[in-house]
Amino acid sequence: MSDDDVARLLRSDAPLVVIEAPAGCGKTYQGAGYAKDCATAEQRGRLLVLAHTHAACGVFRERTRGTGSKVEIKTVASLAVEIASAYHIPLELPHQVEAWARMGGEGGFDAVAQKCANFLTRHRMIACALARRYPVVICDEHQDCTADQHAILMALHASGVKLRVFTDPLQRIYTGKTSKEAKTDAARWEALKAQGAHAVLDFPHRWRTGSLELGKWVLEARAALLNGQPVVIPAKRPVGLNVIVANNQAKARAQLQLDNRKPVDHVMMGGDQILVLTASNEMADAITAFTNRRVGVWEGHTRDALTALVDVLQSKNGDAEAVAGALVAFVGGVGVGFSMSTHGTRLMEEIKDGCCKPTKGKPACIQDMAKAILAEPNHVGASKALKLLKDFIEQKQNGFDTVKIDYRAEFGEAVRLGAFPTPEDGLGEMMRRRAHFRRALPDRVVSTIHKAKGLECRNAMLIPCDSGFGNTYYSRCRLYVALSRASDTLTLVVPSSGGSPLLKIE
């Protein structure tokens, strides 16, 4: 369907419109344009835009600037939290639902969504009240909705909300990882399509400034992947698509050692911009090491190591040994060269002995860190110790010159944690700030595919395209996300044999 037709369909009176939106085909433009029109139209109530990540919310906010309070933009998770907070008493949740959910990890927010969905289904009046506030709802990235989040949407729709859904079934990389889940998701998708008006965006806008041939090839790849076929890389490559054959010869896991290093280096360091994509966090760390940290790691929005640290600091407040142990684990998670064997054991000893031995050099530095923790065996002391560590690294102190912090933003946030009354408060506040401040992608950066979703750039490289991309729906999605990021050039690094069954290189 042409872009104009899609725009018309969005603005029609149809109660449910589902727009299938391949990457880079102007979905955000359509969505934000419709949002702006809705906001300026004379109508009761407001427009609600639901996205999945705070970054995506940021994009919509930017594009709908000036509409004031007529547009509300939130994540589905926060909507569920709001509803659950209002009714936290019958739902048997604590008053601070958001904090509770965050500390429960993924289970936390999922549990909130589930309770909220059940509650809305049971009490129609609440969905009706919400429908009066939000007569029109746009749901972005619907493929990332969990079953419960989808149920919340459908409850609103059943109460009269005009629903506009943007989705790409081939970018479902956050849910539906097992084949069983994939099946239920597929069924849900079919049901949704059947219920409303359905249209597909089909012009590769993203590639207009780069290589349109590449963009069209990506759409063909998409069709193949949706059809259960492999992606064909034709002998006459579309402009911008390159293939490098290189094998990873590292013996240990999570390390990268290529036999054909030069062309890869050239792509990574030669141009002015490159986004290196890979499947796992470990491989991302390996790649940054491979480039001697000249290509940094894109941290995205998750803070796994920091969340784990906050968890311990919150629960083991006052226990100096636990705090020290958590600190060591944290640094190990965000960098290299600092572990139990290198520094941690000594740290624990100093804590146990009370820092009474006179020392010099590296042990003295470790003792300083221990003193900070002993003085305040809580998040304040931990932050102070981390600040000391940061200084030691920067000053290249003896024994700290091999310590490298890869996840600098996360590390920095841990250092700032001490300024807050509780570690949970600090985590929450920093997440809020992160949500509003949308960092631009650095010129040279390596990222997991998951953290790169939604981003765009001019040049990308996918390494390695190996058997890790198996013949599962989940892998197809991951592959598609990776292929569709860059508008100018895309470089695939494939092994000479045993590569991904999803790629057919001619």
């Binding site: 009761r44 509803i83 209002a86 008493i89 129609r124």
Partner: protein, 586 residues
């Protein structure tokens, strides 16, 4: 979602004379009765404050219970609102509660089937803070308090007709008035303001005045003050331009402000404007509905109000108004302690139609029938040494035992002060017993007999002929005939009657009692009706009770009956703060 705004529950704490007030009004028309200074107007004023369409309402020290401004007052309502009120559209979302017929409750349970529910309700309130400022709030299900915006209150659009104002607010373009909402033209005032600013007022000035202005301008210039003075419409403190604009109507060919018409017409017009807006669904409060209206217009108005969709709250002191509240209306009684009780139509309907003043008394004394009413008239006249009505004690005819039972039960439940004098018909013993337990000495039910029976029994035998005799009203003959008929004899003279009595071994007293009560035992079928009617010639007639009472005293029956009757009389006296009596003053 409901079509009209409705108050399901109103709680008032420490507002003016109401310390603790908790009421669940009904849909439709709610008529509040009660003695003076009990708080009827306060209830309406509380609603008006809660739904005030402006933020400029001030609260004064006298609005606080016992003028203690260190304690806040709260006026809280559980309401269902129409979509047009837009309560879900405030800056922060307002979440609904369930109404379980008694209070707002949280919807329960996270799992399970869909729950059928009536209208969702919201809990809103206005607090009088210790700084003498009103604060309008929405109470959320999680206990969080959010602001209730003036916009929502304006949209609810309460129509208020108070008894002391000119009642023309809704006929003028004041912000949020019914006329304003009817015209729904946001920019109108601004455009009018512009237009008026353009009017060249100084062209109307005379020569001299214009010269004066010019020289003033010069003088100001010399003192470095603003110059170029002219005249025009200035805005400022006080009435807005909207309040000066109102409806005009034709009167004898000229356009006259509608607010110049009489009070009754103004009120009815204001209600018309309000009912045309908002599809007839705004809540309405009217203090003293009868004000300025003749009975025929009052009836018409009540009829109109009963058919509106919105909830209506009225106070009245008018018997006419009470009488014409129909099936869709509800009567309530507010007592001196802030309790408000429902008077269900089914139980009071007959009395409501026939003698609506019953509900306006300070103390209603209900007699079962004409005899009892007459007896009470006599006794209370003596006890009060004047007209008991002057103290709000009203003697009412309850139209029969069953009706009186319903009426007294309703009054007792609604805490309406009442007293009763009834016969013992041997029925509904449980209910009478319960009522007696509640009312104590204020209920007198003759033991096992009717009024006539009790009193006549106390009259000495030798005085019986005097009892029967009533030549002044020409009833002696009829009475003698009724006695003769019951004996089955033709002759109506005393000796024949006495002879027949001896033959039947019946006492004269018993016969008289039977005749006076219209007893039908022993009558043939064709005589039953006639025998029943005998009572109307004795004491079951207007004036009959008084006659019986007077004779009770003059014929010497009083000493025997006084111990039974005095508790009732004294209870009535005590209820109006008069001292009790030990005997009847002569």
């Amino acid at each position: 979602m409901s079509a009209a705004a409705m108050v399901h529950r109103l709680r008032i704490e420490r507002f003016r004379g109401l310390k603790e007030f908790d009421w669940r009004p009904k849909a439709g028309m709610n008529v509040i009765l009660g003695g003076g200074d009990m708080g009827k107007t306060t209830i309406l004023d509380a609603l008006a404050l809660l739904f005030s369409p402006t933020n400029g309402t001030t609260v004064s020290e006298t609005d606080y219970w016992q003028r203690d401004t260190d304690q806040e007052f709260v006026i809280e309502a559980t309401v269902s609102l129409p979509e047009s009120a837009g309560i879900e559209n405030q800056r922060r979302m307002a979440y609904p509660w369930h109404w379980d017929d008694k209070q707002a409750v949280l919807p329960t349970g996270a799992d399970g089937e869909e729950v059928e529910v009536g209208a969702p309700v919201y809990v809103i309130r206005v607090r009088g803070t210790t700084d003498l400022e009103p604060s309008w709030e929405v109470v959320q299900p999680d206990g969080v308090i959010d602001h209730l915006s003036v916009g929502v209150r304006r949209q609810i659009g309460l129509v208020r007709l108070s008894s002391d104002e000119r009642n023309d607010r809704d006929l003028r373009l004041v912000y949020g008035s019914a006329l304003d909402r009817l015209l729904a033209d946001q920019g109108f005032r601004a455009r009018i303001g512009k237009e008026m600013a353009k009017v060249p007022l100084d062209k109307e000035l005379g020569q001299e005045s214009r010269k004066a202005l010019t020289s003033l301008s010069d003088k100001m210039g010399k003192n470095r003050l603003p110059t170029g003075l002219t005249l025009g419409l200035t805005s400022g403190q006080g009435p807005s331009i909207g309040s000066l604009i109102g409806l005009l109507a034709q009167h004898q060919g000229k356009d006259i402000p509608l607010s110049s018409w009489g009070a009754g017409t103004r009120r009815m017009a204001a209600l018309e404007v309000a009912s045309t807006t908002a599809g007839n669904a705004s809540p309405t409060t009217i203090d003293e509905i009868e004000r300025g209206l003749e009975p025929y217009r009052l009836r018409k108005l009540i009829g109109i109000l009963e058919s509106t969709k919105g909830q209506v709250f009225l106070t009245t002191h008018s018997a006419v108004a009470i009488a014409c509240v129909g099936q869709q209306g509800h009567l309530w009684y507010l007592d001196g302690k802030g309790n408000i009780g429902h008077l269900p139509a089914a139980k009071i309907e007959v009395q409501q139609r026939r003698d609506p003043e019953t509900f306006l008394a300070k103390l209603a004394v209900v007699g079962e029938g004409k005899t009892e009413v007459g007896l009470l008239n006599f006794l209370l006249g003596k006890a009060f040494n004047g007209n008991p009505l002057d103290e709000g004690v009203r003697i009412c005819d309850g139209q029969g035992s069953s009706a009186v039972l319903d009426l007294l039960e309703t009054f007792a439940e609604a805490n309406l002060e009442c007293a009763g004098l009834v016969d013992d018909e041997g029925e509904k013993l449980g209910r009478w017993k319960a009522l007696k337990a509640t009312m104590g000495d204020r209920l007198l039910q003759w033991p096992k007999v009717a009024t006539e029976g009790f009193i006549i029994t106390a009259i000495p035998d030798e005085k019986l002929e005097e009892l029967v005799e009533n030549d002044e009203e020409g009833l002696t003959g009829y009475r003698m005939r009724s006695l003769a008929e019951r004996l089955g004899i033709e002759a109506k003279d005393w000796s024949s009657i006495k002879a027949a009595l001896t033959a039947k071994q019946k006492s004269l007293k018993a016969l008289i009692i039977e005749a006076a009560t219209g007893a039908t035992d022993g009558a043939s079928d064709k005589d039953k009706k006639a025998w029943k009617k005998h009572a109307q010639n004795w004491f079951k007639r207007d004036g009959g009770g008084e006659e019986l009472a007077a004779k009770m005293v003059s014929l010497g029956a009083w000493p025997k009956v006084k111990d039974t009757i005095l508790p009732l009389i004294n209870a009535i006296l005590a209820a109006v703060d008069r001292s009790s009596i030990t005997g009847l003053p002569t």
